[in-house]
Amino acid sequence: MRNTRVMRDVKARQGVTQNEIARRAYLYVARNTTLPPQVRHQAQLQLNTFGKYTRPNTVKNRCSETGRGRGIISEFALCRYQFRLKALHGELNGVHKACCTSPCNRGLYIY
């Protein structure tokens, strides 16, 4: 599961966590319309000096088991197939297969 994309995502998550407070402070100044434009511009320039992997939108939820980037069930941090496998093995608490006799038979699983 330690493929390059996962490592990149970990890097992004670390970068965001480490720089979050400083970025928020600059964002506050830059977006504050009551401050003089020059100050706001300076803050925006400072914001631009932060690296790519300090922005929260570079973080992508990936499967914690396989590293797959699509079809992630975010509550479990698993892709849909790993979710199914683990659910059928009973490794996920409160998740079990739905059936016709069950009161909730709309989906495959209820949780």
């Binding site: 490592m7 670390q14 966590t17 407070i21 506050y28 977006r31 504050n32 319309t33 941090a77």
Partner: protein, 95 residues
Amino acid sequence: MDALRVLPSKLKALTRLRSEIFQTAYNPRNLRTGAKYLRANLRGPAMMQQYPELGIVNEYEEQRVQDVEDKKRRGKGTPKKTKSKADSRRLAKKR
């Protein structure tokens, strides 16, 4: 109806008083003050929980430290610092 009408100035005073009591910013013109960036919760701590076993471990650094330890055990570590010039010359000859 006249009895129910409230003067705008009174309404303004009320809003000001309300923001004082509840300790919120008084912003009657709804200017963009950037307060939402300060008010929002930090997202980093939650983000770090996506990969529990990877977490905050820096793999490359761990590997490097491990390699250095292995080299030291085989006697291939960095040489010790010498106190004087004479010492360094002596050590150079030995090699």
